[in-house]
Amino acid sequence: MRDPVVASKFQRPRVKRSASGWVLFFCLLSIAALSLLQSSPTRAQEGDPSPLADPVKDGRVSADAVAAVASGLNCPLCQGYNLQDCPLTVCAQMRAQIARDLASGSSPEAIKASFVADYGPGVLNAPPTEGFFWLIWLAPLVALLAGALWLLRSGRRLSRAVPSSMAVATPASGNESTGSEAGEPHPSLVKRFAAMADESDRPGR
């Protein structure tokens, strides 16, 4: 149910409970975004000779490095967009800011941390690998291993219960799946194989 009513991506804040909470949240986000933008030139000027130059364009920072940071973050303003892919102008400016921060020596972790400080942990695209959040990363792996172990154990129990005489390979079963063998089989064999293959797919056999 990827749903039909794709309500405005440009107007939908992350918290959705009541209309007033909605508006308040959006206002706060806008203020946060604006303050970030306003503070950016001053932040960039420290130790950076040309604050408005694009560090990606003049080769000080690679586009991949910016993408690595931005694709780990959500667009703080709209639902479901990655910061790296968001078409909003504000997001393009945030990406440019990330590039300038990287150029002035900030580590990707520090930049992400500043986003978390501004917008909360929900701005990260995936939960961090720490504390309580280990649960999300490890549970599927544990479940898969537990399932495999259970299958192996019950499989062994079952195969022990089966008398060995029953566990002999039947030539038909091998043939059925791998098709006829290489070489020149007798025409009657081919015919028989074809008939067998026809039947093998009928249910209830």
């Binding site: 794709v6 479940a143 002999v168 390979a169 194989f193 209830g204």
Partner: protein, 672 residues
């Protein structure tokens, strides 16, 4: 467009809805009593009530469609999701453009599917019929109940507005006209096998009968769900404008999870057909698939998990919770009650066998399902337990779920070669040897060409391997027939025709292999750039050079469009012009739509978006992507669906039965 006005459609529709609800209620009671007391007349009466319910539900659906066509804006739902300027194609899209309409659409499909199953000659065990009717009518009835009491599409407005609100512009795309109906067909279609399974449990006839009756339904529903997911991906690619097709969004996951469970069922059901084993497990998988359909609907409709795709929240959450609980608990209790008669007829003799391969397949599918489920619901747990709202996006799913899907693709290469009961490892090894060597060569070639990321090499290698093994298997079958003197194309057609299920399945596997290559390439090797270009400036994207040649403004009856003209050249030769656009709808100025412009080639798509623009001097901020091999994603999906339909198509004997039945029905209606 006929002139707007007040029509009695709402009253007629409402009447039809209420009678449909009453009829399904009667069908549940009559069928269940008839079955319990063994009264044939009551059973037949229940069956006819369900058929009548489908007829009146169709009438209600018809009323809503007509209301859209004549533009009866006195009906709140019609006013909400259409306007007199809405193009004809998207008038019907309005039906699923909101809660009430989609719930009606859902109940209608459910009723029609049930009627189709009940109309034909009942090939399954007669004892299943009344219980099937009761379960299907119960599910349909629940949705009708919601439509009548909670989200009524025929609700009137106190004042008749002169003009409708208009359909959300994002939905005005051909993909959106067909994506929701395809998904709903898939979801409702999956309810039919569930009803068969419950009928088997209730009647105690748990032999292979219910499986035979429901397998094709599941296959067709699975095909529709696949088409729905594919169209949704295409819609996202064409409309949402982020250069991708799948975002691991909660609603996408909600539709994907039943797909995973159903895929597991379609495989494990073969063990039951062939060996009479895994009966309990197959029941559990059917229950799981149906529960995921309902839970998915519940999660997203009720707004528990937020998403770009969600409806506006509504108060149907509580109702869904009760219904979901009843269905899941009820079916599990039934399963537990019938455990004694669900004993396997045979046992798994050796792990290296087709049975073992299917077990591994099911284990991996369940692992993938859990990973997706866990990631989708984790934000909820986190908020409840730690009061922190986190988001779980692509990085989680790529790291946790994708490796499991990779293992599934690898198993897909080996599994079909492994014989039943106990396979000969040497024989399987011989069959795999050449494709394995060929895939190693492909990996080597890719590494030499500059593909260095281990994940990409593994992904490509596994997909190519799986594709080659399957193609070799098909070729082997064709060669065997050619030795009997058949021409190659005839041999192929007859081979597939004689073994639709097996070769349809192989075709699906080839589709998955193509999809795998496309997904790996377009995810790991996507190029993206942000550029602000002044008039006449150029930018290089991969092999292409794009020059900004100015902005173009245009208007449509309901919107204004600004486009950036980009001349694309390759090696100095002009190849095309891209026009990424921003469209502002007059009725919804707050929701500008960013329309990408794509130059699609088999090797890669050049994808351009207009971020913002200035008019004096002209300047455009662009987001540009180069998506390598994304065409394989679409082609893989097409091959996959073609394979599914091949497998679901009736074979010769079944076709004759169906023909006879059709002519009997036609003769009956001509005589009447």
């Amino acid at each position: 467009m006929v002139e707007a006005g007040f029509t009695p459609l709402a009253e007629l529709g409402q009447l039809a809805l209420v009678s449909a609800l009453a009829l399904t209620g009667y069908a549940v009671v009559a069928s269940a009593f008839g079955a319990a007391r063994n009264q044939a007349r009551l059973i037949e009466s229940g069956r006819r009530a369900m058929l009548a319910a489908a007829a009146v539900a169709s009438l209600a659906m018809g009323c809503l469609l007509v209301a859209f066509v004549v533009g009866d804006f006195s009906i709140k739902f019609v006013w909400q999701t259409s306007s007199s300027t809405t193009p004809a194609l998207y008038l019907f899209t309005g039906v699923w453009g909101g809660q009430a309409g989609s719930l009606l659409f859902w109940s209608w499909l459910m009723a029609v599917f049930t009627a189709v199953a009940l109309l034909g000659r009942w090939r399954a065990d007669q004892a299943l019929l009344p219980w099937f009717t009761a379960v299907a009518a119960f599910v349909t009835g629940f949705f009708l109940l919601l439509v009548v009491f909670k989200a009524n599409p025929f609700e009137r407005l106190a004042v008749i507005p002169p003009e409708g609100n208009g359909l959300n512009p994002l939905l005005q795309h051909p993909g959106m006209a067909f994506h929701p109906p395809a998904l709903y067909l898939g979801f409702t279609g999956m309810t039919i096998p569930f009803a068969f399974a419950m009928a088997a449990l209730l009647s105690g006839r748990t032999d292979a009968g219910w499986i035979q009756a429901s397998r094709r339904w599941m296959l067709v529903a699975w095909a529709f769900l696949t088409i729905g997911l594919a169209l949704g991906g295409r819609w996202a690619y064409d409309v949402l404008g982020w250069g991708g097709y799948w975002g691991w969004d909660p609603v996408e996951n909600a539709a994907f999870m039943p797909w995973i469970a159903a895929t597991a069922f379609l495989h494990s059901v073969m063990i039951q057909e062939r060996r009479g084993a895994f009966k309990i497990w197959n029941m559990a998988l059917i229950i799981l698939t149906f529960s995921l359909v309902i839970v998915g609907t519940f999660l997203t409709r009720a707004g528990l998990v937020s998403s770009v795709h969600s409806f506006a929240e509504s108060d149907i959450g509580g109702w869904f919770l009760i219904f979901t609980t009843i269905m899941i608990l009820g079916s599990l209790v039934l399963l537990w009650w019938r455990l004694p008669i669900l004993k396997s007829d045979s046992q798994i003799e050796h792990p290296f066998s087709r049975e073992g391969a299917f077990m591994a397949n099911n284990l991996l599918f369940m692992g993938a399902l859990f990973a997706v489920f866990w990631g989708t619901l984790f934000p909820l747990f986190s908020e409840i337990l730690t009061d922190q709202r986190v988001s779980v996006g692509a990085p989680y799913f790529n790291r946790v779920a994708m490796p499991i899907f990779g293992m599934i693709v690898l198993l897909m290469a080996v599994g079909p070669l492994v014989g039943w009961r106990q396979a000969d490892p040497a024989r399987v090894g011989r069959a795999l040897l050449r494709p394995a060597l060929a895939s190693l060569l492909v990996i080597l070639a890719l590494a030499i060409l500059g593909v260095r990321r281990p994940v990409a090499l593994i992904g490509f290698g596994v997909s190519v391997f799986a594709g080659l093994v399957t193609l070799v298997e098909i070729a082997r079958g064709v060669r065997a027939r050619m030795r009997r003197g058949e021409a190659a194309h005839l041999a192929f057609v007859r081979l597939v025709g004689r073994n639709r299920r097996r070769y349809g399945g192989y075709c699906v596997h080839v589709g998955i292999a193509l999809l795998g290559v496309g997904v790996v390439a377009s995810n790991l090797y996507q190029l993206d750039l942000d550029r602000s270009l002044a008039l006449g400036e150029s930018v290089e994207v991969g092999p292409y050079s794009l020059r900004f040649e100015g902005l173009e403004a245009s208007t449509t009856p309901d919107s204004e469009i600004i486009a950036a003209r980009l001349a694309v050249s390759r090696d100095g030769r002009p190849v095309t012009t891209l026009l990424p656009r921003k469209q502002v709808f007059r009725l919804r100025e707050d929701q500008p739509r960013t329309i990408p412009s794509v130059y699609a080639r088999p090797s890669a798509d050049l994808y351009a978006l207009l971020g913002s623009f200035e008019t004096s001097p002209e300047r455009a901020t662009l987001k540009l992507y180069l998506n390598p091999l994304i065409s394989l994603v679409w082609w893989g999906l097409i091959v996959l669906v073609a394979g599914t339909l091949t497998a679901a198509w009736p074979d010769g004997a079944e076709a004759r039965v169906l023909d006879a039945e059709l002519s009997r029905l036609l003769g009956a209606s001509a005589g009447a």
